[in-house]
Amino acid sequence: MSTKKVVKLGFLGDLSGGNAGLVVSAEKSALLAIKQADAKGDLPVDVELEAKDNKDGLSDTAPALAQQLIGDPAVVGVIGPAFSGETKATGALFCQAGLTDITQSATNPALTTYGWPTFFRALATDAVQGGQAGAYIVKSLQKKTVVVINDKSDYGTGLAAAVVKSIKDNGGDVVLDQGIEPTTDYTTIVDSVLAKKPDVLFYAGYDKDAPLLAKQYRQKGGTALFMGGDGDKGTNFLKEGGQYVEGAVLTCPCLDPNVSTDPAAQTFASDYKAAYNGEAAGIYSAEGWDVANIFIAAIKAAGANPTRKAVLDYVASLKDFKGLSKTFNWSPTHEVLGSDVIHFYKVVGGKYTLLSTPTAMTGAPSATP
């Protein structure tokens, strides 16, 4: 038994509900990061993960769980919350308690505008993603006419608006910009898209719906390039989409370590597989691992008795922290900076492949789907 002080990292997110698939792999990655750090033997304290399951990511159940983390004096940092709604609901509480929270997956742009000095975001927002997606379509792919469809969710409408704005700013033409609630029968919207004959069909929504739209559109003879955002990038997109999503391009503020050519990411992917019975690292794994490692570095720097204040100071002054998903530098509002914050994935042979990191805002990526 170790006599070192026990320090805890909180984790807050949907671990068992409908969107658990977007959260669990980040939690597992955080756990893996802690185990790996522990195995190195140079930690001044014992680090434990204190995961709180906010089932279905609901905003109204999150504050109570946040209070539990705040109330535990051993907790010095929080990984998450996973989604934007719960992050919005808990940010002020963490701020009051001086407890640092770094989200690995909440992408609503407004979150960093509330002025919480304790809140950081380890990935790019929907606005940045939409901006790069639009620039990519018009500048890199030289496609002119685009149909943008959203699923009427907060996420979908926000991302779609950013994509539409960027396409227009870059000189492209949005021939149809519409919302449709997730359904099974996409006949009406498919007919509308077919009538417009666009070069690109962009769907801002989730991966339970995107493949169905792609399928019904392709089956009716649609030929436009199918694109989508991070919400579409899940296993169901490939599984249900099958041949109909072949060639589709998805943007994501996430790095998929399984398809990355970066050696560090590849090591992580195989470590994850080894640790979890061959299960592949999922979405936001790399970001969850990065956030855990930022906290671990903060704890190490603070020595044998890390306080919340010491952790916050360390995180706030982070410079060029080399993570898997990106090199971390914060903007004044605690957003990640840099050109490597959005990644482009193309479906090839039923698998995601990473397109060479396009710096769409500054220059054109070379890959042409």
């Binding site: 099974t184 029968d185 006949t187 007919d191 169905l212 249900e240």
Partner: protein, 305 residues
């Protein structure tokens, strides 16, 4: 003229009729049950869902995941899909409605019982099959059969429209020409008098639910074929739309259900073209209210058979 009424119109009509055909088949289940019992069977959307699921499970036994199978398999799947839905509908009647009828329960009790049954079935399937959607195995790959101008008419659309019309015609014939059909009409007109004439009311009610179930199962199979997915809550939206179609056409009337279903499908698809998809349901329900203001009993009025 906006393009939704000119160049887009023909293929919007085809798509609309194809959606409407499915609404019509489900709507018949609402309408004939209402005809004999003056009851809206809100669990009918789950009868439909069971048809999609049965079809999917049957096809899944023959077709590997992600692959596609012979169209004949789809024809064979008609039997399990229709029977499952038919039997489920009869079971719902036995479990949720007949005991209430025996005790002379008030209308409200039926409504609550129906909603309870609907939720029970949805969540049973959710626990059994999981929350996530499952693939409905592919049997018919959509191919454009006809090109008229810029309009492509797909085989799936034609199959749905023709199958729906054939089914409605067969049902009409059954209700008009057979002895059971006559008994059904008699119960709908005046249950007490029919009972005095020797009609076994419980049996006729059972037959009514069974027929409604058969058609819903058939609709489920067409729906699965067309949209390639099954899920625990898949019955909800088509169920609501079909109920609307039944009221629009005149609840209690079989032809009304057909007309209401097709009209609703058409209006949805054409209005989506003119005003955008977000207005689809608004237009559909404005249409419903409009028709009911002019004809409170729906297009075909309240009559049976």
């Amino acid at each position: 003229m906006p393009s939704c009424l000119t160049s887009e119109l023909p293929f919007r009509i085809v798509g609309g009729l194809s959606s409407g055909g499915v609404y019509a088949l489900i709507a018949i289940g609402y309408t004939i049950v209402y005809g004999v019992l003056q009851l809206i069977n809100f669990a009918h959307s789950e009868v439909f869902m069971s048809g999609v699921l049965a079809g999917s499970l049957f096809l899944g036994a023959f077709i590997p995941s992600g692959g596609s199978g012979s169209p004949w398999l789809l024809v064979a799947a008609v039997i399990p899909a229709m029977l499952t839905s038919g039997i489920l509908a009869v079971t719902i009647e036995r479990v949720a409605y007949r005991p209430l009828r025996r005790r002379g329960a008030p209308r409200l009790a039926y409504l609550i019982s129906a909603i309870g049954m609907s939720l029970f079935l949805q969540y049973t399937v959710q626990v059994w099959r999981g929350v996530n959607p499952e693939d409905f195995p592919t049997t018919i790959i959509p191919v454009a059969w006809l090109h008229v101008g810029n309009v492509s008419v797909f085989n799936t659309d034609v199959i749905i429209i023709v199958a729906a019309l054939v089914m409605v015609f067969a049902l009409e014939t059954f209700v008009r020409r057979t002895k059971t059909g006559r008994a059904l009409r008699a119960v709908a007109q005046d249950a007490e008098a029919a009972a005095l004439m020797g009609v076994d009311i419980d049996r006729i009610i059972m037959v009514t639910f069974f027929i409604g179930g058969l058609l819903a199962g058939f609709a489920g199979l067409l729906f699965g074929m067309n949209f390639g997915r099954t899920q625990w809550n898949i019955g909800f939206l088509p169920g609501i739309k079909a109920f609307t179609a039944a009221v629009l056409g005149g609840i209690g009337s079989i032809r009304g259900a057909l007309a209401g279903g097709l009209l609703l499908g058409l209006m949805e698809n054409v209005s989506a073209g003119c005003f955008g998809t977000q207005w689809r349901d608004v237009v559909a329900f404005v249409l419903l209210v409009g028709v009911l203001m002019l004809r409170p009993t729906g297009i075909f009025g309240e009559k049976t058979g």
